[in-house]
Amino acid sequence: MIVEVDGLGVSFRTGFWRKRLQALQGVSLSVREGDFLALLGPNGAGKSTLMYCMLGLMRPSAGSVRMFGEPPRLGGPMYARMAYLPEEPHYHDYLTVDESVSYYGALHRRRVEPRTVQDLLERFGLAEFKHLRLSKCSKGMKQKVGIIQCLLNEPRLVFLDEPMRGLDPVTVKLFRDVLLEMNAGGATIVMNSHILSEVEQVATRVAILNGGRLVAEQDVQSLRQVESGAYTVEIQDGSGLPDHFDKLGEAAGTSVGRVGAERLYDFFDSARSRDVRIVSCQRQRATLEESFLRVLKEERPNA
């Protein structure tokens, strides 16, 4: 295991009366080498807090975290194999784009060739802004600087907190490809995101948090393997549509539609009687969004 979280609990004291707020409670989680784990959950579920504890930025009030087999100690040698992209653009605003990239690279105790910095800046469309101070950069540009600093040390473990926030679609696609490439190369990625369509495309496992507790931890495929009670059917256009066929669209002489599971046999009978040829019939799989909402619903039936 590359990251092991055991019985983690975090509580804060807030307000004038120092009221105790439980942010995390008994969270146990393991991240295997090569995983692409997405932390999901509604606002205030404790996703960022969990990530901060994994990174060693926050001290838990209970339980423990181990990374690469040891507890995280800020600035320790284990961080040479890691990268972290923060949610908010908390960078050194008084530095220029290229100064900040070089500075973050130098903190890894390895010389980053100016050519490498230039290549990365060009790849992410920042080359022409390299002399611009970060305080003058847009949020998206700062996010790109954050992404670049994650790529400088060829990390084995990457923590991404809402990585797609503020990025344009072209950069989202580019970053997604970079992440998949890194993951395919053996890098372990822990990502915290609200964009479920994005998570669905990249993550292999998800951990769902709610109210500071871990309510589900599964492979994306197994989580989505819940029947939604419907089939996607493609039929050849012919003399009218069979009964119970809910047409969704057309493609090259065929119609694609949805048929409820309870009406499937009636639909087959109707298609046979109308002499409609069925091209394909597949059980519909729930989207990650549907699965996520179902898990939350099961957790809090009244929500």
Binding site: S48, L57, L74, Y79, P86, H90, L95, E99, Y104, L107
Partner: protein, 266 residues
């Protein structure tokens, strides 16, 4: 580690150079200094120039004592508020190295400021044909030590509390305050009041001993400050003041490191 220290120091020097608040603060101090000094130049006579130079050196030290601690205070508060320390400590760079670079860069800027002031005094002395006294150099070095003590004290305070509260704390709870309190308690004891005064005396003494001294040499160099003549013994005393500044800075650096490790940097 040395490489990391240098990388961070370079970054902090960029911060000091580009910090508008700091530059503005420096310019205001310079303007106040000019307003108070330039009029006296108009009435200068050959005989009063030596006196003017002495006052000038003393005034510049006073202003540096305000400007230099602001370097550490602003560096700490600005980086903690911007929350960018987490990007440093989630790399193989220990927080102590980052903090060491913060102290080092501020001390380097302080050294540059005090050197510039000493050079300015020397140039003015040459221009006015006033024989340069080693006392000017002594005062400049002593001023540098005092600035460094104040800088490290305020930096450690800014690590623990809000920067404004840190400044207020330094303004109202300094060695002079408790020195005055010690006298008040002693006077009250002599007037025959005993109730609770022993506890007050112990408290005042303890806090007074704990607070850093900005003028560790005090009355020992009063004559030097007036005549600007330096003996071998005075240089020895200056060495002791230097050791005191180094020990105090090391103590406040250790305290700041301890606080930084316990801070929520998320």
């Amino acid at each position: 580690m040395l490489e990391l220290l240098l990388v961070n120091t370079r970054t902090f020097l960029r911060f000091h150079r580009r910090n508008r608040l700091l530059i503005g603060f420096g310019l205001v101090i310079l303007a106040i200094f000019a307003l108070s000094f330039v009029p006296s130049l108009l009435f200068a006579t050959t005989t009063s120039r030596f006196e003017m130079l002495r006052n000038l050196a003393s005034q510049m030290n006073g202003f540096a004592l305000v400007l230099v601690p602001a370097l550490g205070l602003l560096a700490v508060s600005s980086h903690l508020r911007a929350r960018n320390v987490k990007l440093v400590v989630t790399k193989p760079c220990p927080p102590e190295v980052w903090l060491g670079a913060l102290f080092l860069s501020a001390i380097l800027v302080a050294l540059a400021i005090h050197t510039a002031m000493a050079v300015f005094t020397a140039v003015l002395s040459w221009w006015w044909a006033v024989p340069y006294q080693p006392g000017f150099l002594f005062i400049a070095i002593e001023g540098f030590f005092s600035s460094v003590v104040m800088l490290s004290f305020l930096t450690a305070l800014a690590m623990a509390i809000h920067p404004v509260i840190a400044v207020v704390t330094v303004l109202f709870f300094n060695e002079s305050t408790f020195y005055g309190l010690k006298f008040m308690v002693a006077a009250a004891q002599r007037s025959g009041q005993e109730k609770g005064l022993l506890a007050a005396q112990v408290a005042c003494d303890t806090v007074y001993q704990l607070l850093p001294m900005l003028d560790p040499l005090g009355e020992r160099v009063e004559a030097l400050r007036a005549s600007l003549r330096v003996t071998g013994h005075d240089w020895l005393l200056l060495g002791v003041a230097g050791v005191y500044a180094a020990v105090t800075t090391a103590f406040f650096f250790a305290a700041s490191s301890w606080l930084l490790r316990r801070k929520n940097l998320a």
